[in-house]
Amino acid sequence: MAVETEATIEERTQAFRDHVTSGGKVEMTDWMPDEYRRSVLKFIEMHANSEIMGVLPEREWINRAPSVRRKLALTSKVQDEVGHGQLLYRLAEDLGKPREQMLEDLMAGRTKFHNVFHYPTHTWADVGIIAWLVDAAAILSQKALLTCSYAPYARTMQKICWEESFHIKHGYDIVLSMMNGTEEQRAMVQEALDRWWGPLMQFHGPPTPVEKDKDLAWRIKSKGNEQLRQEFLSMYVPRILDLGLSIPDPNLRYDEETGRWQYTEPSWEELRSVVTGHGPRSQERLAFRRLNYDQGEWVRQAVMTAS
């Protein structure tokens, strides 16, 4: 009897695998193999963490924004990103992990968030480069999630991608305004680009063979790391050069023969070290997240007692 049950689970898992690899969708209440649940949960949790950690470098600039309109726009972007965190943590909770646990794991450094949010910001130009290029790199991965096999995630990504388009445009607007400014402002943009180029090239992760990428196999995501980086380069290298900026990589060029961008190998060692909490601002940002979490405790208490 036990043997028969085991075989049934294997058959179900195989049927599930066939279902998702042929483009089938999964809803929260559908049966799914534990491994799929764990993978999709981990993916969404990391995404949610990145949304709420990603606002910390930007919030540092709300009080220093150069005009009221910029202040409003930056505040709106921060509000959007935290909202994305809310939507994504909700999806993850439905997959079985309580929110408190996810926040505890994040603050204790047991779970990760994107590399780009572990770095400091130096000038207002960083805010422009982050909103324009970091959000652009992120939206490419996010658009590849619109066809995610986990349907609640795919539907949520429609709203998120729609909001992200304002972030990118606002970032581009900041960069263009500065490029229309003084020599000093243009230099600030170039310096910011020089600072962010390395982390941007690392952002999508090292090239991983398709057969080794579980998230691809389960159709959680639809594009591999290298493909996303190639798309990013194809879209943004021309736009960056168009502004008269230069890209700090002497080896960067488009190879007509292979139809691919060539570039200096990004430092995967730096990526690994940064996302495991050893980036220049990793601990400071986590401490700030913890401080806010603790200071907000009375609000959570009040909400629960009021209802």
Partner: protein
Amino acid sequence: MDMHVYEVFQQQKEGGALVHSGNIQAPDDRLAIHYARELYGRRGESVRLWVIPRDHVLELTDPDLLKPPFDRSYRSVEGYRLRDKLASVRAAREGS
């Protein structure tokens, strides 16, 4: 027996959004499911239905909250016109 109204949400294709399709009246949850199937699923046009007691639906329509009269263009893609800015960056670049 009291009749209750249930709102029906229909998913027409796998993975799609659940879209409000109408409502039905039924004395209890079990029959509500049955009626929903008869009205919104009898031709195989749905892959999933959500049947929700109307009393459980919370509604918000207040325009002061949803369509406030302030300028919110700074929040939207339409709030930024880049064409002229881009043209002048290019002109300056070519001029130099």
